[in-house]
């Protein structure tokens, strides 16, 4: 029995059951939600090292070589994304057990959370453009509601802004799919890629590409489409900020962008220049905007733009090494950025404050939060033993190797600025003298600490993914899936 | 009693929708109409006994004829007013009083008035006061307005519904 549909079926089932039974007991939402995410994490770990799998939903075999049903495809890139989504999702759901006590209606929180997970998993395993869109909408709509979960005025406003931008993005994506569909006569991505390859890249495909770039660019908050992110991500409850910054913008932004551009339309030089330019712009502008922030979560949110800039730039460069670096940075960013947001959540949980100017010396009262945030900060700033260093190093090396010395220099500058801004976070937030206001502050509850420690361990250990044996199984295969480009069609449809 | 009547009406509607005598449709129809009766039967029909009095159907037919005749007359009247170069209209809202007792009869009256060109029921309260928009208000007095607009339908409606 092939288990691919379970990635969507498990979280959906729990989400559907939650409104029915979620009120019976206070523990039940926590139990159901964490059981689902645990199962998903286990399932995604089981996907490592399996060969590429194609699953035909409904058992509809292709007729005359034309796929008529929906295909689910799990290749190297999808496995990588599944791992990110489900492992981070598990950590975050463990964290939510304690954190979401501050809010009412936990059952509905877990429902929306699981729907978001199901949506992201659905996007990643889908081999069909429209199916990708449908699940993208599931994830996006759940995230709009989750941003506004606190129902305070500014949260509602941020969610509204987010929703307007997100809906515009979805509109672009849908029009792009419509153009591609009428161009190729199929919704299956592999089949569409094949048809485009046969027809040659026409104006229609370019137009669709531009639409996708706008749509997924908005979803991934690449500059100049970033305006919603610094409002939306900090307004959400901390676990959701972690999910949004850590996973969502990658799953429904970067991943979809990669899939469409590399595997379906095929990357040309213009597109890769555009991607590089947008990536470099996000990388530098994001970090410059971040360094002036005093609101902790807002600062992290700007860094998400900046770090996504690295990924997009690396993918735009398009050499195997660069793609590898980009994807590795994607994974790393998922770990350290969600950890940072969880840290900020722990600080907010204990002190009710997220203004860096009012903090100070929290290390004395909150050792676990302080230590994990130090690890995450060093990771994101690219300090050697931690994972962020390796991926940035690969990206810079790849840029130099491909001859883009300017981009490499910009990446170094961005990295230094990142270091500066995180030194600021550490200096004002966790080191220094403890203020008398915070004398009675207590460390975050145990489940929150557990998930933060888990992510911190990942941050430290993730560098091991580059070891020769491990590298082939995960990163190389993901990078192959991307750089393989339109070979995807042949692999999915069978030669 | 009223439930059974409602069920029969619903079943007739179902047969009209499906237009088939396949046993699958018939059985499904019974189940579905039973469900509808369970949910909506309570609020829908209150005095089922009246449905079994044949003279009411005779008056109903007569009423339809009268309504058509009034509509025809009113059509010409409105057409005349619109086409006349001076446009002899005097629009306004008048209050009229209906002596009908049941809600169904009143609703039927109000809808008939609305259907007749030139007059339009704007509102109706629980006591049977109708507020009617009239293209050519001939008399501001409620009594006279009642006489002119309402009475022509009311007599027959009373026999149909009460």
């Amino acid at each position: 029995m092939n288990l691919i549909p379970l990635f969507v079926a498990i979280p959906l089932a729990m989400a559907f059951v939650m409104p029915l039974f979620g009120r019976l007991s206070r523990l039940l939402p926590d139990l159901l939600g964490n059981a689902a995410t645990l199962a998903l994490a286990a399932l995604s770990c089981a996907m490592i090292n399996l060969p590429m799998m194609v699953y035909k939903v409904g058992g509809w075999e292709p007729v005359n070589g034309v796929p008529i049903g929906i295909y689910l495809v799990v290749d190297g890139l999808a496995v990588l994304m599944l791992l990110i989504i489900n492992v981070i999702g598990f950590a975050v759901s463990v964290y939510s057990i304690e954190y979401m006590r501050k809010y009412t209606d936990k059952a509905r929180f877990y429902t929306l959370f699981l729907l978001m997970m199901a949506g992201m998993n659905g996007v990643v395993i889908s081999g069909d453009m429209f199916n990708l869109y449908v699940f993208l909408e599931v994830a996006a709509i759940a995230s709009y509601a989750l941003v506004a979960f606190g129902t305070e005025a500014e949260e509602l406003e941020a969610a509204f802004k987010y929703q307007v931008m997100g809906t515009a993005a979805s509109g672009f994506i849908l029009v792009g799919i419509a153009v591609l569909y009428s161009l190729t006569g199929t919704l299956n991505m592999a089949d569409a890629g094949k048809v485009i390859l046969e027809q040659g890249r026409s104006q229609g495909a370019l137009f669709a590409g531009a639409l996708f770039l706008m749509g997924f660019g908005l979803k991934a908050a690449i500059m100049p489409f970033h305006a919603w992110l610094p409002d939306a991500h900090p307004s959400a409850p901390a676990p959701i900020s972690a999910m949004l910054s850590g996973v969502l913008i990658k799953a429904i932004g970067i991943y979809a962008l990669c899939r469409i551009f590399f595997n379906v339309i095929g990357l040309n030089l213009t597109t890769s220049y555009i991607l590089m330019a947008m990536g470099a712009l996000s990388m530098i502008a994001g970090v410059f905007l971040a360094i002036g922030q005093w609101d902790m979560k807002r600062l992290f949110a700007y860094h998400s733009i900046s770090q996504m800039g690295y990924v997009v730039m690396a993918i735009g460069i398009g050499t195997p090494l660069a793609v590898l670096g980009g994807l590795f940075h994607l994974v790393n960013h998922a770990t350290f950025k969600s950890l940072l947001f969880l840290n900020s959540g722990a600080v907010v949980y204990s002190t009710g404050n997220r203004d860096l100017q009012k903090m100070g010396g929290l290390n004395q009262r909150m050792p676990v939060t302080g230590a994990t945030s130090l690890i995450a900060s060093m990771s994101i700033a690219g300090i050697p033993p931690f994972n962020g260093f390796w991926s940035k190093l690969i990206i810079i090396l790849a840029a130099v190797q491909a001859g883009y010395y300017g981009l490499a220099a910009l990446a170094v500058v961005g990295s230094i600025m990142t270091l500066a801004s995180f030194l600021k976070v550490q200096r004002y937030g966790f080191f220094g003298k403890l203020r008398p206001v915070w004398k009675k502050v207590r460390e975050a509850p145990v489940f929150m600490c557990v998930s933060m420690v888990l992510l911190a361990l990942l941050c430290v250990g993730m560098g091991l993914l580059l070891l020769p044996g491990v590298k082939d199984g995960l990163l190389d295969r993901a990078a192959d899936a991307v750089t393989g480009g339109t070979d995807y069609s042949g692999l999915v449809l069978g030669k | 009693m009223s439930r059974i009547v409602y069920f029969i009406i619903a079943y007739a509607f179902w047969l009209l929708l499906t237009l088939s005598v396949d046993w699958q449709h018939l059985v499904t129809g019974a189940v579905v109409c039973g469900l509808t009766t369970m949910i909506f039967g309570k609020i829908s029909i209150s005095r089922a006994r009246k449905l079994f009095q044949p003279q009411r159907y005779f008056w109903m037919v007569l009423y339809v004829l009268v309504l058509l005749w009034e509509c025809l007359k009113a059509n010409f009247d409105v057409a005349y007013r619109v086409l006349h170069p001076a446009m002899p209209i005097r629009p306004g809202i008048v209050k009229a009083r209906s002596s009908l007792k049941t809600d169904v009869a009143r609703t039927c009256l109000a809808n008939s008035i609305t259907m007749t060109p030139g007059t339009l029921t704007v509102d109706m309260n629980g006591e049977g006061d109708l507020y009617i928009h009239w293209i050519n208000v001939k008399d501001d007095d409620a009594q006279h307005a009642t006489q002119m607009i309402v009475k022509r339908f009311e007599r027959i409606l009373k026999r149909v519904f009460e």
């Binding site: 029995m1 092939n2 549909p5 079926a9 959906l12 089932a13 559907f16 059951v17 939650m18 409104p19 029915l20 009120r23 699953y55 035909k56 939903v57 409904g58 058992g59 | 409602y6 619903a10 509607f13 179902w14 929708l17 499906t18 396949d22 699958q24 449709h25 499904t28 579905v32 109409c33 469900l35 509808t36 009766t37 949910i39 909506f40 039967g41 609020i43 829908s44 809600d103 169904v104 009143r106 609703t107 109000a110 809808n111 029921t121 509102d123 109706m124 309260n125 629980g126």
Partner: protein
């Protein structure tokens, strides 16, 4: 909420049931004629909304009603999920596991009518839940 005029109430009393019936007809005949779970479900919800709007009494709006319609929605979509999962147990996700039957009869096309019913329940519950939520919000006042 103030109710509407007796005209609306009376017409609603007569029509709501028929609209409900028509909605169910659309759901059940989704595999034979245009329509299906989405369209029919909205009609069913519309029938309830109509009754509710016409009645307009404050006691008709309650948190319990909201919960119940939300639960109906969950049940509907859960049924859909179960239908899909039965296929997975037998072979593939969303495998049409029932016999196809004779075309143009009511009981044909495998699990398509069942899917339609599940979607119909889901859509009806969903729209009614949204409606009730807005009404509760207005009646109860937010903050």
């Amino acid at each position: 909420m103030r109710g509407m005029t007796p005209i609306v109430k009376t017409v609603t009393r007569g029509m709501a049931g028929m609209i409900f019936l028509y909605g169910i007809y659309i759901v059940l005949h989704g595999h034979l004629t245009p329509g299906g779970g989405f369209a029919g479900g909205v009609m069913v919800a519309a029938a309830f909304v109509l009754v509710f709007l016409a009645k307009g009494s404050p006691e008709a709006v309650s948190e319990a009603k909201k919960e119940r319609s939300s639960m109906a929605e969950s049940l509907g979509i859960l049924t859909f999920w179960v239908l899909a999962m039965i296929g997975l147990i037998g072979g593939t996700f969303f495998y049409n596991f029932l016999t196809k039957g004779k075309p143009f009869r009511l009981l044909s096309a495998g699990f398509i009518p069942l899917n339609n019913i599940a979607i119909g329940i889901e859509v009806a519950g969903a729209l009614f839940a949204i409606f009730i939520t807005l009404a509760v919000l207005k009646a109860g006042g937010k903050k």
